[in-house]
Amino acid sequence: MPERSLEGLRVVEFTDEAGSYCGRLLADLGADVIKVEPPGGGRQRHSPPYYAATGEGVDSSLAFWIQNTSKQSVVLDLDAQAGREAARKLALNADVVIEDNPVVYLADRGLVFDKATTEKPSLVYCSITGFGQTGPHADYAYSDIIGQAMGGLMTLAGEPADPPNMIYGHQADLSASIQAAQGVLLAVLHADATGEGQLVDVSAQEAVQLSQETAMQTWDLQHRNRVRTGEKGSLPVKLPALGNYACKDGYVMCFVVAPAGADFSVLVDWMRERDMIEDLDDEPYKSLCNNLNLGSISQLLTNPAALMPALPALAHIDSVLAAFFASMTATEAYEEGQRRHLLNGIVSTPSDLANNAQLRARDWYRQVPFDYLGGTVEFPGAPYRLSESPVAIGRPPRLGEHTEAVLASLQ
């Protein structure tokens, strides 16, 4: 076994929904990560869905599993003196502490781990909260959807007629954890070089700011707010080969008129081969199809006199296209389209992802051994592959599985 990237790095985390993924990234890279959990477990351990074979329970939550691989679990009651004392010892024994509790929660329990603690000057202390350790909203209550709302993501997503949409998958929590992982590793490199530890302060609201794409710059440079535009997008008319098309079993998202990839005519050739061209080889459709791209469309949009008569023709081309895609599966539309260099993407369902030919061919999914279940459970793989110091995914710990051994090692 080659040495791991983070071999020997000792991490203690007091985390739940917002910070667990940070610890997971470090643990899969080889750090020794001890998760301190409250008696009974935190929110994640009580979140469905559960592993079907074992049923509901604190050791079966998939929400917990996916963000807590390769860690050890120690249960400590931080509301009792003995628990606080053990937590303090654990933290001072570590190189890195990660926590995602409300500001002052740990301090109220006598656990002030930040840099002000002089007992261990090299300690890297990472706090992950909704709004950061300072500022007028530092003590605001936080949950993932609040980070997505206050961070400017929700205002961009959804149909104008609907409430703004949140993005699936606790993306504000996850973003905070990803930014925290980078911050922790930067601080570890600094501590390795100088012996100096520091506080890494991560705010979920700040962590998602970059994901506003261009909304921030649009306000800054043009004093316009980007808003949610829904299925229609930002263009005033529905254009052929731009957007979702329903297939037999799902959707394919097309960007054929975008500047990358093969021209619209390649799509027409494909339709002709399948004998689904209908009347697109006749005028006025033929000329439109031969020159259908964002450039020509932009010109059309600025010239109402030319646009108005073109609209019914564009709508007709779109309906022929819709019938074409409806005749095949989404996977076929995606793979065959991409083979022809047409820019499109399958709207993958979880089942499509499980069967994705690329992910399977690259052996991306991992069979993670669960010794206590007497078998393995298939997990999504790691985000990256390192050639010399590879990532490895170990099973998540059962609640308090390592309490005894870890506390004994502190004696």
Binding site: Y21, R43, P48, L62, H137, A141, I145, I146, A149, M150, G152, M154, P163, N165, M166, I167, Y168, G169, S175, Q182, H190, E196, Q198, L199, S203, E206, L210, Q212, T214, A215, M216, Q217, T218, D220, L221, N225, R228, T229, E231, G243, Y251, M253, F255, A258, H341, L343, I346, V347, S348, P350, L353, A357, A361, R362, P380, P383, Y384, L386, S387, E388
Partner: protein
């Protein structure tokens, strides 16, 4: 002045669009010297993408240097123009890479091969280099050469299918979401881990981050539920399996919110106590004990009515007022903010000075995302605004690569430095 963690390291940033350049910028912010390789012959389209600075008459400022989209991902970097489609250009790239600690790219394997920038080739010249490749699908496999960028990746990775309301088609999330945090953040995490490994062992290595793998990994429980349980989830809108009410609720309109007057409050009640506190704070304590809503199970069973009721309680109030009322009771609540709110109104964001305002020769004073993590001893800095296209070509040629005036003149004459 404390040395930044990556000071003394040099990065050859051979990336473009969003995910690659953001990773390069993070390394730059924390001290690395980042040389962004660009060419007018294969222009990063973000350089000409909206939003650009507007002229006083409202027309868009033209040219390669006035896009806020590009500039925000490239602050502090050096821009070198180099035509990698020429043999000479590739030769110069290698003379630069000899002096780099990190190589970064998100071009497709096909382009990497054409430019002779495969890891085996680079490692021969510089075995200590950490070479990070972030193509869309991976360096091998049957979909290796599939085309795409963030807009394609969002549907392909399942984000589109799993997000939004179930009665709507899966239209996506309004942005090329994976480009901005997930992919650059994972890339930087891997590079930093590899740097620590190199510090301990002296060895460089190859990092491969197929964007599809990086994003599907981050898709929460949906994929694990599928592969472990064989259960295919559907999108659930703004609702949660562990909190109710959980969503965005319409408040009173605000015409000062430019082009986006509808205002919404996001709320998450994770317990009966938070629900009771919400009802009390909004002056409807009797609603908390309404049998349709009194327990979590009841609220989930009557969720449509629950959401109508919450909307009724907030519809005539300002979203900011609802947030203040609920937060005073420690209930997770936040305004669905737009960029105007965040840049101009959010007192908290302003107090923490997250956004940096830098003077750029073509866009004037403009906003940049600051570091999304605050390090107390080594906070990082945006040392300069985004570079003009090719602004540092001469500097890099002379100071870093060590070319003399004659060599540079030849390269210019042969159209290598364009």
């Amino acid at each position: 002045m404390t040395k930044l963690p990556l000071e003394g390291l040099r990065v050859g940033d051979f990336s473009w669009f969003g995910a690659g350049p953001i990773a390069g910028q993070m390394l730059c912010t924390f001290g690395a010297e980042v040389v962004r390789i660009e060419s007018e012959t294969k222009l990063d389209s973000l350089r000409v993408a909206q939003p650009v600075r507007l002229n006083p008459d409202g027309s868009p400022h033209t040219g390669y240097n006035s896009s806020g989209y590009f500039n925000n991902f490239n602050a502090g970097k050096l821009s070198m123009q180099l035509n990698l489609n020429t043999e000479k250009g590739q030769e110069i790239a290698y003379r630069l890479l000899e002096k780099c600690d990190v190589f970064l790219t998100n071009f497709t394997p096909r382009v990497i091969e054409k430019w002779n920038l495969r890891y085996e080739q680079i490692a021969k010249v510089n075995p200590r280099i950490i070479a990070a490749y972030a193509p869309m699908q991976g360096m091998d496999g049957p979909h290796r050469d599939f085309l795409g960028f963030g807009a394609v990746l969002t549907p392909v990775t399942g984000i589109s299918y799993m997000s939004g309301f179930p009665n709507r088609p899966p239209i996506g999330v309004g942005t090329n979401y994976p480009d901005y945090v997930i992919n650059p953040g994972h890339t930087v995490t891997a590079i930093l881990a590899a740097l620590r490994y190199r510090n301990r062992t002296g060895k460089g290595q190859c990092i491969e981050l197929p964007q599809i793998e990086s994003v599907v990994n981050a898709l929460g429980t949906a994929v694990l539920d599928q592969v472990a349980n064989g259960h295919s989830q559907n999108r659930g809108g703004n609702r949660s399996a562990v909190a109710a009410p959980h969503g965005a609720f319409r408040c009173s309109d605000d015409e000062t919110s430019e082009g986006s007057p509808d205002r919404w409050i996001a709320v998450a009640c994770r317990s009966d106590a938070e629900w009771a506190a919400l009802c009390d704070a909004l002056g409807a304590p009797e609603t908390a004990v309404d049998p349709r809503f009194a327990t979590f199970a009841a609220r989930k069973a009557n969720e449509d009515a629950l959401e109508d009721t919450v909307t009724g309680l907030v519809r005539e109030r300002r979203a900011e007022d609802v947030m203040a009322l609920l937060q005073a009771r420690h209930i997770p609540a936040g305004v669905v903010q737009n960029a105007q709110d965040i840049l101009d109104k959010d007192e908290h964001m302003r107090a923490r000075e997250y956004y940096w305002y830098l003077d750029h020769p073509e866009t004037g004073r403009s906003a940049y995302d600051g570091p999304p993590m605050r390090l107390s001893a080594t906070p990082g800095e945006l040392r300069a605004p985004a570079p003009l296209l090719g602004e540092h070509t001469m500097d890099v040629c002379e100071r870093i690569i060590g070319l003399d005036a004659d060599e540079i003149a030849d390269l210019l004459a042969e159209s290598v430095l364009i």
